[in-house]
């Protein structure tokens, strides 16, 4: 019964509709990037590339980074702290994310009420 219910009524989001299935955004600070290429190497989804800009190597994201799986290893591997990838994927309908708050570094004290 719950199977039929889900099949007929569950609101499964369309994978290729960015409104319903949004994935992480990655930005690379072109000033800070020294072209060390580590992010390009570790990206499992291969959505980063290395380009030559005015004779200097720079990493940048592909125009379409829908393959990004939010592993965040580009950010972890960057020696210049040039990469920001702080937005989690957000999904609509049946898979809607709930109960998630803001991004925070790990905390050891908890002020406030």
């Amino acid at each position: 019964m719950s199977f039929l219910n889900r099949l007929l009524f569950a609101d499964f989001p369309e994978w290729d509709d960015p409104e319903q299935c949004g994935f992480q955004r990655v930005t690379i600070d072109q000033e800070a990037c020294d072209g060390c290429k580590m992010c390009v190497i570790v990206c499992p989804a291969r959505v980063l590339e290395l380009v030559r800009v005015d004779g200097k190597r720079k990493a940048r994201t592909l125009p379409d980074i829908r393959g990004c799986i939010s592993c965040n290893n580009c950010m972890a591997i960057c020696t210049n702290d040039a990469i920001r990838a702080t937005e989690h994927f957000h999904l609509a309908g049946y898979y809607e994310n709930r109960g998630l708050g803001a991004f925070r570094p790990p905390r050891t004290s908890f002020p406030g009420p």
């Binding site: 570790v42 989804a45 291969r46 049946y94 991004f103």
Partner: protein, 263 residues
Amino acid sequence: MSQQAIARSEIEAEVEAKEEAESPSRASCEEGAEWNVIERAFLTRRSIRKFRKAQVPAHLIRRMLEIGRFAPSQGNCQPYRFAVVREPDLLRDMEEFCVAECKKLAGMTDYTAHEKGSLKRYAAEVVTRLVAASDPGAAHPVPMLVLKQIAEGRFTVFHRAPTVILLLVDKHGVGIPEIDIGIVGTNIVMAAESQGLGTCWVGFSKLLNQSPAWKERLGLDERFQISEAICVGHAVGKPWQRVIERATHEIQWFENGQKKVVY
């Protein structure tokens, strides 16, 4: 000689008084204190998908499995067995098989490959909805995205790791044995992290269960099937150099007759 049982409450009161008087609590961390070594390991752990070619010493794999052996499990039934694969030919064949399976599955379910409004898209979407209705987790957009990428050759299954540990689950275990797999795997992953090695969980390894040939080759049966795999190797770069911020989660807090929600 007369014997008389001493009341439980009396013993408990004695122990409590003794504990309070003599031994300070083991947990003595002040608010705001630095992360300890173990906590720090959890914060710097990342799922590594790019490994150096060099093999990991066998004794380190044995050592992390020893830590796994001491994991808690439901009813202490320890419903897991391990298969360690360090043979390049075998790893290559596993990878090829899983990629081929992903291609088949993506061919059936990936409706995004077809034009909107087309009959092909509609047919594939019906298949996907069937999958989603029977097993919503399997049709979650994130694994489906990865499935498509593996099929397109843009993503690897075992990430060319030099060692893969297959976690076999005993279907006859207590309660939900897969939960114990998660716990034993965490022990293994964190032991590896503490040794300076990189790991990654691979759920797509389950695809091997579907093949009689692989069952034979890996010695799987009805009781012991692949639940998860953990890739182990030396990470490329220094992914542990920085702790990455992540989403907070809703916490419902009940205390002093009140309920509050914190993040």
